[in-house]
Amino acid sequence: MFKKVLVANRGEIAVRIIRACRELGIATVAVYSEVDRHGLHVRYADEAYLLGGPTAKESYLRGDKILEIAKQSGADAIHPGYGFLAEREDFAAKCAEMKIGFIGPKPSSIAAMGDKAKARSTLIKAGVPVVPGTEDVGNLTDDDLLRVAPTIGFPLLIKATAGGGGKGMREVQTLEEMPGLLSSARREAESSFGDGNVYLEKLVEGARHIEIQILADAFGNVIHLGERECSLQRRHQKLVEEAPSPFLDEDLRQRMGGLAVRVAKAVDYLNAGTIEFLVDKDKNYYFLEMNTRLQVEHPITEMVTGVDIVAEQLRIARGRQLSYKQDEIRLSGHAIECRINAEDPYQDFMPSTGTITHCLLPTGPGVRVDTGVYPGFEITPYYDPLIAKLIVWGETRAQAILRMRRALEEYRIIGVRTNIPFHQTLMDSPRFMGGQYDTRFVEERFSIGETLLDRPAHAEIAAILATLAAHQATERSTQVVRRGERDTSNWKWVGRWERMHR
């Protein structure tokens, strides 16, 4: 049982966790970097302590300092959120050493899933299908890999064993180009993770990225909460997620869910986790990796199941049983999440920084916004560009899409550029509406400009808007000039004018 939780994160996810704690009557401790003094998580928490400089290394990655603050403030548990310290086995182990609860899995499970090659071999032994590839654990040399490659078949992927976020990943079409790609993948993995080990995996073409949310308590109960469809990505970063997947039927959902539960049990899993699968055109599914933490996109599962995942995490960490049994989990309706990033979709998704001067959130039926920003808050270049998650629920997928369109148009953020227009174009795309997309869709078959020209009426309105704004700007500037021409102050001028007319 604990009474005070330290939230070792920032932004929308820190706010999300603080909200759950507040509802449960648990006190909260926020930590922040020098540039996050104005962060919403700092304002919402019961206590707040400065970590250090603006970079993650000086602040949110300072495990030692965070543990010290936890001790001093009397927090009995730490919620790591996602990113930063969430999947650091050593940090989870230190928490245990210092008798501070870690709201997440055991260090051994983080380790078992953190090394992708080790995770593969563990699961192959447990009878879980994985994407065909190098089955051997350990440090394979380039010669070994080049020998094995033809038996896997091309195209294939080189992946970093310590990998994540697409770093150290290369697509290989032929054996000839493989040596060069191997060395560049190793270089990137070495600089990103300090570990240049790689392995090979067959490239599944036309694949969809579908993941299963699981919850596991300390009594051996493991349940799944259905799937999330996460195929809409750009540069291996998810942009839009939906639940349930338009590609899965009930039979496949139950089979994949059951498998996810088995995966969790194979590593003696505790708390919330996500098992990612690749699903090919013929509905064959392969284990991809397990994320041993709360996911960015967890709200869509909450919307369709009614389960408060963060509250369940706290409950599990407090040593209690899950509130639900598998047969009590029912999916209802459809949920979609759009990740609102401070990026300019018209300039190759260039990050956009600045102070948010005005903000109008969409509300109304079926709309949820998880965000950490507000007018006056500055978006700095130090952290990831996610500023909000817009989540909608509808009785059907069609209703959810219509609702998302409505909500995106209502959302006004001024001060930074956002990718809202990208999402609006996507929601209008016939392929998206038809559920016809895979992990390559955004990069290869979608363009934000493509539907621009079929709306001439709006181009005319835009012309009127631009002209009136330009006209007002010119009027203002000429008035400024006129004022300057007068060499006496306006008050003196008014006085003289009044005397003249007496």
Partner: protein, 165 residues
């Protein structure tokens, strides 16, 4: 005052008659334009139809973001338009182009050297911001000069990084 707004190479003649009326082509329209809380968000009512849009000047263009679409509009009054026509189309292809940092960040690499010839689309600087590496590319052919940054430098937004002549 008569203006010509150009969007996607299509020209719209918009005459501002007074604060409440414009003429587009030969149609007279009643308009009512207000800004929302003094921000670059405008609410426009045209003959009873209500629109809301972001309208911001960026470089020489007014960017109008309306119902999820971006319309870059070049707005000129008739005099400017005539002047430009007289000057010919030799704009922007000459003169020195100054590459400025589009956002604050860390210089990861400068893969070009002083005096190096570059073509349009060549990477000039790699700038890291928000955990993403961004390639800043040459907008046209030219020769690189005045390199003012090195790998490892932190730069503020709009800092001049180098030039292309």
């Amino acid at each position: 005052m008569k203006y010509i707004a150009t969007i996607d190479e299509k020209e719209y003649e918009v005459e501002v008659i007074d604060e409440r009326h414009v003429r587009v082509g030969d149609r007279l329209l009643a308009v009512d334009l207000v800004t929302v809380s003094g921000q670059p968000v405008y609410s426009l009512i045209v003959n009873g139809s209500s629109y809301e849009a972001y309208v911001q000047p960026v470089d020489e263009v007014w960017q109008v973001l309306l119902r999820g679409r971006l319309y870059p509009a070049k707005v000129e009054d008739e005099r400017e338009k005539r002047l430009r026509a007289a000057a010919g189309s030799q704009v922007s292809e000459t003169g020195e182009y100054m590459l400025r940092a589009p956002m604050p960040g860390l210089i990861v690499a400068v893969p070009v050297e002083d005096g190096q010839k570059v073509s349009r689309g060549d990477v000039l600087v790699i700038l890291e911001s928000m955990k993403m590496q961004n390639e800043l590319k040459a907008p046209r052919d030219g020769v690189v000069g005045r390199i003012r940054v090195h790998a490892g430098d932190s730069v503020e937004q709009k800092k001049t990084l180098l030039s292309v002549l």
